[in-house]
Symmetry: C2
Subunit: 222 residues, 2 copies
Amino acid sequence: MVQTPTEDTAALPKVPTPTLERLTTYLRCLVDLGASGVRTISSAQIEEHAGVSAAQFRKDLSYFGEFGKPGVGYQVGELENRIARILQLHKLQPILLVGAGNLGSALASYPGLEEHKFHIVALFDTDPEKIGKRVLGMDIIEFSRLGEINEVLQARIAILAVPASAAQAAADSAIQSGVRALLNFAPTPLKVPAGVVVRHVSFLQELAVLSYHLTETEKRGQ
Amino acid sequence: MVQTPTEDTAALPKVPTPTLERLTTYLRCLVDLGASGVRTISSAQIEEHAGVSAAQFRKDLSYFGEFGKPGVGYQVGELENRIARILQLHKLQPILLVGAGNLGSALASYPGLEEHKFHIVALFDTDPEKIGKRVLGMDIIEFSRLGEINEVLQARIAILAVPASAAQAAADSAIQSGVRALLNFAPTPLKVPAGVVVRHVSFLQELAVLSYHLTETEKRGQ
DNA sequence: TAGATTGTTAATCGATTAACAATC
DNA sequence: TAGATTGTTAATCGATTAACAATC
């Protein structure tokens, strides 16, 4: 196990994305359990409450260190804090929201955003009709001013709730202004430089997958 | 390869979920290419336009039959139709929407729904303030009437855009009324009987994954 | 101490990628 | 026919599950 001199950080095993996604599930589960007075839990109890196998839960945590005591289990409060810290949910995250249509406005007022320390700090749109109108106490700002505005705000995350035709331009501007993570609600893939992370949420894609499974279950049932 | 007598259908190889998700990407790509006058495409061109490798594309299609001609490629229009058919996007799909808050209303008016033959046929909420109000020409109906209403409508897909606390009850009612596929926007896992498919969309989960990656890229960059 | 439960290693499973024979 | 490109098989990669030694 000789480390080559050029690698100065002992490359930790890369964390699988499904593991990261499950962390938020564990977190919600822990918050719930904590609220109902539970102080200690075992991986078996997580399995029951979160619907993720005990083995999977322990494996997931193992990417980040040791969290429990053999024979005892995990401290609810402590585990909650440590997972929140891993996901950076312990400190305020400023977020840009591009697109102030129906979806954008709904996302801006999504309950739980603030609770998870996500804070939408600016709202952009290209529609002159919308500029200056207010959503949740924020002015809607002309999209072309994104760069200038984010110079001050320094947000690193942007949500794109724009039509497919506008998505790439929105992404480019955001990245240009320093954004390094994009949540894309537009039904189109984005091209981004290395070092920028994109997650894509597609309402229609989800429905299509369900639609496929519908006929499958019918066939089986029939 | 002797078929046991109890298995009356030659169990087709199960289609991986990622394959189904990519089908919608191909579809969009094909629609775009078709609109710009392209008649024939190769898997290599799909790779370029859709950002999915040519090998992956061919493998994905292979679950459903043969679609192209060696040495030639695929007919854009034909492939488009066949993929739409696989996903059942060729016939109207009635959908129930439970929850007429900000998110529910935004989803109801999502552009592209109708284009993909998804049709929201009823909108439910428990809030007495909202009952009878109209969204997109539809009355908002008291949630307790879901069963009675769907007896007539016979929708098999429901979208849940309700708070976490109401999600399980909404799912139960929908399933009771004949729904077999659920798209869950509530930040909580659902318990459903076998034969019911659930897809879960979690805005906060997506943001949390991005948030994690942000610090990772910073570490690497640093 | 004995019983419980962890963290980790090894075995399994499934999806992606690469390679190529078949064929237009 | 020769060149191009498919559909499929085999090799690789990565994630999940199972098993268990370590330990509270």
